[in-house]
Amino acid sequence: MENEIVYKEELAPEIKLMKVRAPLIARKARSGQFVILRVSEDGERIPLTLIDWDPKDGTITLVFREVGATTKELGKLNVGDVIHDLVGPLGKPGEIALYGRVCVIGGGIAIAAAYERAKKLKEVGNYVVAIIGARTAEQLIFRDELKGLVDKLYVTTDDGSEGIKGYPSDVLKGLLESGEKFNLVYAVGPEALMKAVSEVTKPYKIKTIVSLNSLMVDGTGMCGCCRVTVGGKTMFTCVDGPEFDGHSVDFEELMARLRMYEEEEKLAIKVMEGCGCRSWM
């Protein structure tokens, strides 16, 4: 059945991987694209990056952290359950080319997307260095897969429970200062990380691509909820992106817009979890 969950795995606490039957999306999907889904009849539309897809068995793979009402609801679904609405692939595909030496950076949940991109960049013959970071060791998803894939892997954690204590951008900075050369840096993860990476690479004039997670409603260019200033021009993340030149993105604006519904997001979780709080009434 379409939109049926055929496989579910908990990669780390609150981080889940799901394989979903979506033959049309699997046939068209390209690296860097995303889907929009709704878990229930009254659900919100949220974008999730495509982590893998298999046109032969007609499935796509999604990885998400249960952080908002919708992702928590999604996390409750099990194998055999059906996702109410699923549409894609959306967004422009990322550029997979032979650059030479490439550094792929992933932070938090987006390590999954970084792994996917590293795989594609490796396939076309690039020398790939990966730097991944998470809050703590148990959240370092896809670490083993990356280890077996890339030419060199650096691992960071915020609390130092594994690898280097600090952020991936610090590692990148160290590498560049010690004379490492990259033709492309690809960063995906929290905005603060993508911003830091872009700042590190700017003086070295290294082409830096970031994959933005703007808020979206339709995801097809209709609403402009996801608009972001890139190089002084307004772009729609859903149709002009999600990948942009990191040196041109107005991260401050992006981060402010991502906070627009902070209160409502908390409220939605409270209502969903039925904590007894009536402040929303």
Partner: protein, 461 residues
């Protein structure tokens, strides 16, 4: 005197009292009762050369259906309309009748007939009692794909299905209806009515597939590969146009489409209990642009302290709805233009800077352009802003095909043969994606026209 008065005056459409309207998204116009409909129908002069019919883009037999109302044959009256228009309950509510059929009404000594009100009465009556499905031609064995389930797509689909073709409609969003679903608010057009009209189209044999973006999930070329013999693109004019002024991307600034999508499609007015999609309306709301009345009225219902529409010349909308908006408290500031938006330290919009406009020198054609009055800049404090200027066509389906579909670079519209609405071999287009943002009824008309030429095309191929 009493009798004369009845004949002269239009029977007023019952409405929700103003004080009740702002507490709900329920429909404001309540529709005629049977008694009221009969009284209004009795006023029709039954002209022998009716101008109302000529003024209707679909040439609906207005005196004919009004005569049937007088005879108490409401279902037959509805069927008469439905022959020409697959969604009379929608058009009775959203057509700008005052510029179409009602403008043609020759009842010069009294008020014109409320044709929309009567259309709505019989259409609702028929939906309540169950719509009879007309005869459908024997299957031709040919399939047609329709891109977009708005008024253009649905009317093309209905016509083609009646002629025996297998029709599949592809919709990008999770609910069908296009602008009827995402664009027009519940208080003007209840979604239940839209669903009922779509159900009728489905019952003609039309299949509707949601969550498929033609140009992304599937391309027009894929559709031909899958065996469709013709494709109709009715993807509408659903892309927002920004103002290009500083501060447009501040928090709290919505495009009209985002605002309406959240309210209408996602039912954000039910957040957090009945919908998980939020919307943020607080303090004073500035609506920038002539298309903003629906958003303004929605903002008042969402608890705005004050809502003001700033626009240049003329508001877009039906007179009744503009009047209702003003009754509800929407403020209007014509002859103004936004200059920039200013935010607070959290990048939330705080102030809108505007400038007053005056007519400039007439050009060769005698038209005057509005020009800013020097030194007339003023500020309006607002925590929510909606940009409601223009919409541009959505041509992703047209662009992502190897077939030679041409798009006008300046207007962003699909170029078609004006007679056949053909854009490339086997590919047809109509509605807002061809004309630019227009009306529901014009889109229905384009869908019907396209259906005729698609039918002719299919019978030859």
């Amino acid at each position: 005197m009493q009798k004369l008065d009845v004949r002269l005056k239009q029977i007023p459409m019952p409405e929700l009292p103003v004080e009740k309207r702002l507490q709900t998204f329920d429909e404001v116009a309540l529709g005629y009762s049977e008694e009221q409909a009969l009284a209004e129908a009795a006023r029709c002069l039954q002209c022998t050369r009716p101008l109302c019919v000529e003024m209707c883009p679909l040439r609906i037999d207005v005196p004919g259906f009004i005569k049937l109302i007088r005879q108490g044959n409401y279902v037959e009256a509805a069927q008469k309309i439905r022959q020409e228009n697959c969604m009379p309950a929608v058009c009775g509510r959203v057509c700008p009748q005052e510029r179409l059929c009602v403008l043609g009404c020759k009842n010069v000594i009294g008020d014109p007939i409320n044709i929309g009100g009567l259309e709505r009465f019989v259409a609702d009556y028929e939906l309540e009692t169950g719509v009879t499905i007309p005869d459908i031609a024997p299957s031709t064995g040919k399939s047609v794909a329709i891109v977009g389930s708005g008024p253009a797509g649905l009317s093309a689909a209905a016509e083609l299905a009646k002629r025996g073709h297998h029709v599949v409609v592809f919709e990008a969003l999770h609910e069908p209806g296009g602008v009827l679903t995402y664009g027009i608010p519940e208080f003007r057009l209840p979604k239940k009515v839209v669903k009922q009209e779509i159900d009728y189209v489905r019952r003609l044999g039309v299949e509707i597939k949601t969550n498929i973006v033609i140009g992304r999930t599937l391309t027009v070329d894929d559709l031909f590969d899958e065996g469709f013999k013709a494709v109709f693109i009715g993807s509408g004019a659903g892309l927002p146009k920004l103002l290009g002024i500083p501060g447009e991307n501040l928090c709290g600034v919505y495009t009209l489409n985002e605002f309406l999508l959240r309210v209408n499609l996602m039912r954000a007015y039910l957040f957090p209990r009945g919908s998980k999609t939020p919307i943020k309306v607080r303090g004073r709301v500035a609506i920038l642009g002539a298309r903003g009345m629906d958003a303004a009225r929605a903002a008042l219902r969402l608890g705005a302290e004050e809502v003001c529409i700033f626009y240049q010349r003329k508001l877009v909308g039906r007179v009744d709805d503009i009047r209702r908006g003003i009754e509800e408290g929407v403020k209007l500031q014509p002859s103004t233009k936004p200059v920039k938006l200013l935010g607070d330290e959290n990048r939330w919009v705080k102030l809108v800077e505007l400038v007053k406009l005056k007519p400039g020198q007439p050009d060769k054609t005698g038209k005057t352009k509005l020009i800013p009055v020097p030194g007339s800049e003023f500020l309006y404090s607002a925590e929510t802003v909606v940009i409601a200027t223009d919409h541009v066509p959505n041509t992703v389906a047209a662009i992502k095909t190897a077939r030679n579909v041409k798009v006008d670079e300046k207007r962003g519209t699909i170029i078609v043969d004006p007679e056949t609405l053909m854009a490339a071999d086997g590919v047809f287009a109509g509605g807002d994606v061809v004309s630019g943002a227009a009306s529901v009824i014009e889109a229905i008309k384009a869908g019907k026209r396209a259906a005729q030429s698609i039918h002719a095309y299919l019978m030859k191929h």
